[in-house]
Symmetry: D2
């Protein structure tokens, strides 16, 4: 018995250059497309009569980018979702995921050359469009946003058992690689403006929060977004705790005034939550 | 408003050596632990009174491995889940994910030395234990199982539109990196034996199937598992289509009798389904 | 017979926080240490009498950072090199490699909070100190500097043979992930200032160059550094050609006015050169 | 002034299927090509008159594979090197690097299906051909060969200073990811047979050696190869020390009889040497 199925194309790499005379604009996207629908017979019998090839999905990304342009990732994703729903009668639900890689202009001659760019990261902007016959959901996000607090971060008051060795601390490093995804309410919207507002609120709240735990800071980051950006209905945050451990310098006759840390990658804490209005 | 939250520890790396005189056994696991429960106040108020530190979760992995040993990953995961549910009253649901890395003995002197090992892969065995106050679900799986068919694989009969360029083919390479996860029915079980049976059925069905598409082969692999391994209630398969494209040699005055391919990584098809009894 | 040998410690992760009241400074380094010397008997006979453990090398990184602080990576590397040469009589040559990860302050409240940081990249600063009994060489560099030109880049006039299919182009995208390493002349120096000058020259020259090939642009970037930064004796540049291929839209009845590209990762060109005074 | 330069193509992915009726053979190679020669004017002036495009290098890989077949990687590399030297008068030195990915047949029906394969690894076979007008050097190797000893491994007798904390141990885990590269003497040779002999000797010596350090075992692995495989002139071994640290279980009231380890990735020791006749 068939419970659930999906198919699509991932890692479609699209770079679009828009030429305004000497000055170019650049959009660098990685797109993934995912179809759910009445595709049961392709699985059970190998009947491909309704199966739009994933190669055609890929071609459609390039063709629509050429024909209609690419502005905000959400807008491009909406156009793709609409196109696929219009053309594929057995398609019930289409999901478009977009990863928007940042480039800034290289300054030259006191100004910008206008045709040379430098990648900035490691963070990237994300968008997810989920379209059905009933309606469409637009989500946006950030990923790989590496942030660190060297003060105003504690972890105390937790339960202890026979396997507890962690010392309480009122002053620890809190570092994470933030992934946040938020859902917009319906209605026309300037996706670029809202995205900047959410990202700014996340960063500022992280910087200003007196943290009692990753959970505590995560919640208040999400709550601040709901408070300050009206268009956001709910937000999901994932914050791995990238542990920075103070080095024990006492064997060397040295003290560690909370200055010398080893950054570790394994193991890591993993904290997440969804906060809604 | 709080919709959903979870926290835990990931990438806990455990290697356990069991010494039987000159002959050692080796178990190499990566463990992740995830808690869901009444942790709302840790998020909203920074109250950590019920929050078992993820550092203690990590310690518990090593302590239980030392105290009780590690046999099958499912058994170790069940012990961890039980331990955490017993000790943490506000914990509703605990999930233990285990990745089991394979090592084989290095043959030496005509026999095994017994204390020297070689990693085999890239595939690995997985297990997931999900425990609540009501009961426990055991899932097992394989990941990163790279497999390829150079015959008995076609893709034809699909719809065409103005963006279609893919030629139909009755003889293409089908290559994938299989991830499969299956759920066991309740009851006592030899997890090692069942795991081998499922993996063997997946490989054999992949090898023998006359494939009309990735979907077609995926379904019949899952269906064969349900048919041949009674303990499996349902199975989820994820099969990225790692495209191998025939190289156009005509500019060089050469033919390509379906022999010369370029292996590509981007973009890739992504096919998945869950099949249940 | 023993031709050449080396040993050391890699991936030593050091984060140092310097606290100036409410305002903190952050240095985030990955350090590698490599020893060459009279270590032959440790290889042939397992005699470790002269073999400083790599664990001690790691401890030394943390101890010196605590005792003496960490300013520019070159300065910290010089101190490490000197320390190891002083203490290890059989050590002939020590190499210290440092990777300096960038963090910027998160703006908050109109100003900086001073204790919250955001990682910037993907590029990083590098330094290499090579010390012997005779003297010390200081090299610095950048790595993972992703840069792209969407104009002023051509590739024509190359030889053709029976395996040539590449069309000549007077207007292609040139994208690379630059790794550059330069050697400083002896003498006291402000490493931070020189580093910024070299990096700025590399970026500006890349942006302004009328490129006839990757080789052509690479050379002129290096040549501009030698011309504008006196302290640099020689420079080595590595520039993978990250191909961006125009998509053929003609099957869709669309033209491609050099606007729609697929970014590829495999295969890639690889161009490098060393340029000296 | 121009000191040194090279250019070429990397990550050329070639899969060749040879069809013997129902039974297929598979060769899966990643090829890199590197040219050195009189290319100075391409750098300084952008004169591409002698610059074979890297795209043509890539085409040549596929064309020669189709025209002449692919047997051992060394033989294919030699043909490529010869081809490029013959055609490019300004080419002084060409280097061909080949990575040979292993696949084994999937057993089916009690036998092999003959057209279905499973990737085995993580190790791979390597070959490097370096051709000049004066002669050609053939090297072969293994990479990513993960091996571990759980006995017969010690590390004692090393010097101690004020930064030493490592305890001496007579029984530790020794784990590494071996990369070995060896150079063959001139003359006709069965590369497959020699490769198997070297790899077997490396594994067997690793398994049987009473190790006093990574250096000690590395040397004796290389020395055993020179002793047992006549065709090998010299061998270079690189052995990162992938530390497995015993977990301190005493806080939990448990002993660790050298059974419970945490596998770490950072930092790691790095040991290498070249051994020649």
């Amino acid at each position: 018995m068939f419970v659930e199925a999906a198919y699509g194309k991932s890692s479609v790499r699209l770079v679009r250059v828009t030429r305004h005379g000497d000055r170019h604009d650049l959009r660098d996207l990685t797109v993934a497309i995912r179809f759910e629908g009445d595709y049961g017979e392709s699985y059970t019998d190998g009947d491909n009569a309704g199966v739009l090839p994933t190669d055609t999905m890929k071609n459609t990304v390039y063709a629509l980018a050429a024909r209609d342009g690419v502005s905000e990732p959400e807008v491009f994703g909406l156009a793709l979702a609409r196109h696929f729903l219009d053309r594929n009668p057995v398609l019930h639900r289409v999901r478009i995921d977009l990863l928007d890689h940042f480039w800034k202009r290289i300054p030259a001659d006191g100004g910008d050359r206008g045709q040379a760019f430098q990648r900035v990261g490691p963070d990237a902007r994300t968008a997810r469009i989920t379209g059905t016959r009933e309606g469409t959901v637009v989500e946006a996000g950030v990923t790989d946003l590496l942030i660190m607090k060297t003060g105003h971060s504690a972890f105390t008051g937790y339960p202890r058992d026979e396997f507890t060795t962690l010392p309480e601390t009122s002053d620890r490093i809190l570092a994470t690689s933030l992934t946040a995804t938020w859902r917009y309410s319906d209605g026309p919207r300037d996706f670029g403006t809202d995205w900047l507002a959410v990202r700014g609120t996340l960063l500022e709240t992280f910087a200003e929060h007196d943290s009692r735990s990753v959970q505590h800071t995560l919640y208040h980051m999400g709550e601040a977004v709901l408070r300050s950006v009206e268009a956001v209905e709910s937000i999901h945050l994932v914050m791995p705790n990238k542990h920075h451990l103070p080095v024990d310098l006492s064997p060397f006759g040295l003290g560690n005034r909370n200055e010398i840390f080893v950054a570790t990658t394994e193991p890591f804490g993993l904290i997440e939550a969804t906060i809604a209005r």
